[in-house]
């Protein structure tokens, strides 16, 4: 009898097999594209099935695999996977975002010039790595999938990236991204190693809090910063975000959408489910600084949005701003008494929402002009006349991202504000102002690009055709999901909150 939990490894193994298939498979772009779409739908179905099942089961699903004898350390490392209310939202996000992005942001026919194998192979490998990060309970496996995702993106952008205005050549931008990410993940590896060496075993994500608890406070502090650095570069935090705009600009559209939707959630996952449970003392000690850092990110991202001309840059900074809010939920949530799980639940919900919203926005941004170019303010106006479906969906997406009540984003954001208010009302004021400015910048850009007389005052721009009916329907389905969750979020939030409460190992509810 096959248990549902036996299907857990498939979440990572299916995309892995899919990736291998692509690298050795058909060169023909159409075949590869169709296969990619089909398998991604299969993956999506599996992810949604497992995610919803896990949320329904109180203790969640776990899978234990073969044990690795880590001879070099002198101990054994059991391979374990887990899926419950805490990380199911991330898997659901992955399951919905990947097929959506591959369907709507697929490369234009003929644009891959014979390199379609690497395009879809890297997409599949990235999916496998991301799934592995979100479900692995073994720290070593977690790190492996972390690095594997980075490698997949390295090859994807390296082979298929195109230089964009003001970014310089692709490889320079790519190296900035990769090296900065490594500058965070290598300290994280040291932190992992320190914990494993101290504990003489792999405690896994579930045992991390207990393992760290046994270390000396100084050691705990170092390991905290090591992990924080690793997750901070991925999210990214303000100050470590230098790679963000240019990497999004040069990446192929599908890659960009997945980077923002899913890869940044690796950082969010780390903050919520690895850092917060294991280091509540450190978070409490540095709470003020961390919370201010997040609010600064919200404000900075929003203000910089006002200065951007290209929609893709705008979306990148808007993403930075919203993820600052997510991080605020985490840091305000830990040790905040009654509102403990509010902030963290809000952060998890925001991860889910932000991912899907960004997937939609980046995908739509790439569909306006030929070749996936991003429309820039000042080069064209009145896009609405020729792209009615695109305009309608984009505007709805912008409203959702602006946390209009009725959308799920509003629920997540309000939870974060509740938690932040417990820490200090000023945080809410500043963060709220930042969110407002960000929303205004997006609406202003939309207005500038889509309303007005159709035309391009500058050099001629070539438009891509409007969305097909089925594409618009897929996007609409996503939007309806947000509305449904926005009006009735408890089926989602309930299991998340229950899992987080069950996790409470070192009194992070204070």
């Amino acid at each position: 009898m096959v248990l549902t939990s036996d299907l857990l490894p498939l979440l990572a193994l299916l995309p892995l097999a899919w990736s291998v298939f692509h690298f050795f498979g058909p060169r023909d772009e159409a075949t590869a594209g169709t296969m990619a779409l089909a398998v991604s739908l299969l993956f999506g179905a599996l992810a949604v099935y497992l995610g919803t099942t896990a949320m329904g089961v109180a203790e969640g699903l776990t899978w234990t695999g073969p044990t690795l004898a880590l001879g070099l350390g002198g101990f054994d490392v059991p391979l374990r996977l887990y899926l419950d209310g805490r990380n199911a939202p991330f898997i659901l996000l992955l399951g919905l975002a990947v097929p959506f992005v591959l369907a709507l942001a697929r490369p234009a026919p003929g644009s891959l010039s014979g390199k379609s194998r690497s395009f879809f192979g890297c997409a599949a490998a990235l999916t496998a790595g991301l799934a592995g990060v979100f479900i692995s309970d073994t720290l070593l496996l977690f790190y492996l999938c972390w690095e594997a995702s980075l490698l997949a993106v390295y090859f994807w952008i390296g082979i298929h990236g195109k230089p964009a205005p003001r970014t310089g050549e692709v490889y320079g931008v790519l190296m900035r991204f990769v090296l900065l990410t490594l500058a965070g993940s290598l300290p994280m590896l040291l932190g992992l190693g320190a914990v494993m060496a101290f504990r003489q075993g792999d405690p896994g994500i579930s045992g991390l809090a207990a393992a760290v608890g046994g270390m000396s406070p100084t050691a705990q502090g170092w390991v905290f910063f090591a992990f924080l650095l690793g997750f901070a570069v991925k999210l990214p935090f303000l100050g470590l975000h230098g790679w963000l705009r240019d990497t999004y600009a040069v990446a192929p559209a599908a890659c960009r959408a997945l980077l923002s939707a899913a890869m940044s959630k690796m950082g969010a996952y780390g903050l919520i489910l690895v850092l917060a449970p294991a280091f509540p003392d450190q978070i409490e000690r540095y709470a003020a600084a961390l919370q201010l850092w997040c609010v600064a990110a919200v404000l900075y991202g929003a203000l910089i949005c006002l200065a951007q001309e290209r929609l893709v840059d705008l979306l990148a900074y808007s993403s930075l701003s919203h993820l600052g809010l997510l991080a605020l939920g985490v840091f305000a949530g830990v040790r905040s008494g009654d509102a403990a799980t509010t902030g963290l639940t809000g952060a998890v919900f925001q991860a889910f929402n932000h991912g899907l919203i960004m997937a939609l926005l980046f995908v739509l941004d790439a569909r306006a002009l030929k070749g996936g170019e991003s429309p820039a303010l000042g080069t064209l106006t009145g896009l609405r006349a020729s792209h009615r479906r695109l305009a309608a969906l984009l505007l709805t997406g912008i409203f959702a991202s602006a946390s209009l009540p009725g959308f799920s984003n509003f629920v997540g954001e309000i939870l974060v504000y509740f938690a932040a208010f417990q820490a200090s009302p000023w945080l809410v004021l500043l963060a709220g102002a930042g969110a407002l400015i960000g929303a205004a910048a997006l609406v202003r850009a939309f207005h500038g690009l889509f309303f007005g007389k159709p035309g391009s005052p500058a050099a001629a721009v070539s438009f891509a055709p409007d969305l097909a009916r089925w594409e618009a329907a897929a996007a609409l389905a996503l939007i309806l999901l947000w509305v449904a969750l926005g009006l009735y979020p408890m089926p989602f939030l309930g299991p998340v909150e229950k899992s987080l409460l069950m996790l409470n190992p070192r009194g992070w509810t204070g």
């Binding site: 004898a69 001879g71 070099l72 690095e147 490698l151 990769v178 090296l179 290598l186 300290p187």
Partner: protein, 482 residues
């Protein structure tokens, strides 16, 4: 006693016989490709490895303690001979390409193999020095072997001058050690030093002499293994040496040199650990910084490999301070395999007329020779420390050993470990320059479309080392070791 004497001779007889046969063949053979010397060399090395598995056991001593077999020495013997064997297989057709006479080259390698086995089996200072010279002198010869190439002459000369300095320092240090302890036998030396240190004797003149000996021996071996700041010679030597010789020098000989260093530091100089551990950490720290940053500007792949050797030397030194024979053997095996794999990749991607020299020579080869390029990429992933490869497992093993509660690391030790790991992002940058050339559009001109011969032995070694590296990376221990 009888069995023991025979055991030693039996175990080494293939090497000795092989050397003698090749000497004869070398004198008589007219030149050009010959299969016999290849077969003899391979059988000699493989035979010695196999026979020492059955004849030599930990605890055996020969010649009144001059040779001492331990479990560690057996592991290192296998590593050294195994790497030499792979290098021999790799070199089969390449020697003809660079106009090197096969029998003579292989004869020199066999002589060096004798040094590999003795580097870790030495029981007293005299044997140690013989092993040291047996590793060094053939290396100089191998570096400059294709004497028609002026760069090889330069490489050989530089290596010789530096090696002679290193040998002189080593001899000087050994003399001091003998003066301090009054005995040549390594176990007795350790006993003497333990006696002095346990009597609280930082005061005795003997200990001061012993410490001077330690520093001299350490510097000598750090020159030999090219740890920073004693590494400036390495890139020039690597650049001038032909790929086949480099496989032996950079793979097997380097591992044996590190084995020798470990033997000295864990054995006779063990009681002076408080002195040499901080020294090694400092050197590791400098190696991480200098090795990584000096590699950034390199465009020639052999020089890149040289600086990567410096960086890895830093890690190996940290592994030596952790005093885990198991970890060291694993690291040497993984580093040796990666080096051989990289060289095999360079040979496989080269052409009949010219070697792969710079990054431009690799441009676009990912599409034309995807198999070789893919396995070469796996080797580079191991160098860069990406998980699921032996390189990652080895480096992670070093990290685990450093952060163990009983590791005895000081702040300097932690700093060295942290710096080495964090600076591997710089390593990632320069290793992936090669990956970039292979797979990504560089905007430059693609490597010229020449008829490339896929030699089976290059491919075999490339695939074998890549698979071995991934295998070791997954099981994270040497097969057969606990």
């Amino acid at each position: 006693m009888d069995r023991l004497m025979n055991a030693y001779l039996i175990a080494h007889s293939p090497l000795i016989l092989g050397f003698a046969l090749l000497l004869v063949i070398g004198a008589l053979h007219p030149g050009g490709r010959d299969f016999y010397s290849h077969a003899i060399a391979v059988v000699a090395v493989a035979g010695t490895a196999a026979l020492s598995a059955f004849q030599l056991f930990p605890g055996d001593t020969f010649y009144g303690g001059a040779i001492q077999v331990t479990a560690f020495s057996k592991a290192l013997t296998y590593v050294g001979l195994g790497l030499a064997l792979i290098a021999l297989v790799l070199s089969e057709d390449y020697l003809e390409k660079v106009h090197i006479r096969g029998p003579e080259w292989r004869m020199v390698v066999l002589a060096q193999c004798f040094g590999f086995t003795h580097a870790s089996m030495a029981g007293d200072l005299a044997t140690l020095f013989i092993a040291f010279e047996l590793i060094s002198i053939p290396s100089y010869v191998l570096a400059g072997f294709n004497h028609r190439d002026v760069r090889a002459n330069e490489a050989g000369m530089k290596y010789l001058l530096l090696g002679v300095l290193s040998s002189a320092l080593f001899l000087f240090g050994m003399a001091f050690l003998y003066g301090a302890t009054g005995t040549l036998n390594l176990v007795s030396i350790r006993g003497q030093l333990e006696l002095h240190t346990s009597l609280g004797g930082a005061a005795g003149p003997d200990i001061a002499l012993a410490k001077a000996a330690l520093v001299l021996i350490l510097v000598s071996l750090l020159f030999k293994t090219a740890a920073a700041p004693f590494h400036s010679w390495l890139s020039d030597v690597y650049q001038g040496t032909n790929l086949a010789s480099l496989a032996v020098i950079g793979g097997a000989a380097k591992s044996a040199s590190f084995g020798l260093l470990a033997l000295m530091l864990w054995g006779p100089l063990g009681p002076l650990a408080e002195t040499w551990m901080p020294l090694l950490w400092a050197v590791a720290l400098v190696s991480a910084v200098l090795g990584n940053f000096q590699a950034i500007a390199q465009t020639q792949i052999k020089r890149l490999l040289a600086y990567s050797g410096v960086v890895n030397a830093g890690f190996i030194l940290i592994a030596i301070t952790e005093r885990s024979p198991f970890l060291l053997a694993f690291y040497l095996a993984s580093y040796g395999l990666a080096t051989l794999g990289a060289l095999a990749g360079m040979m496989a991607l080269g052409t009949r007329g010219a070697d792969v020299d710079t990054l431009d020579d690799l441009a676009g080869l990912g599409r034309r020779q995807p198999l070789s390029a893919a396995f070469f990429t796996v080797i580079l992933l191991s160098y860069a420390g990406i998980p699921l490869t032996a390189g990652f497992a080895a480096k992670f093993g070093v990290v685990l050993g450093a952060f163990r509660p009983d590791s005895g690391f000081s702040q300097l030790g932690y700093a060295a470990t942290v710096a080495s790991v964090c600076l591997s992002l710089v390593s990632f940058f320069f290793y992936f320059k090669i990956v970039r050339s292979l797979w990504m559009p560089t905007g430059g001109v693609e490597a010229p479309e020449m008829k490339r011969e896929i030699r089976l032995n290059y491919l075999f070694v490339l695939i074998f080392t890549a698979v071995a590296i991934v295998g070791l990376g997954v099981i994270m221990r040497l097969p057969g070791a606990s």
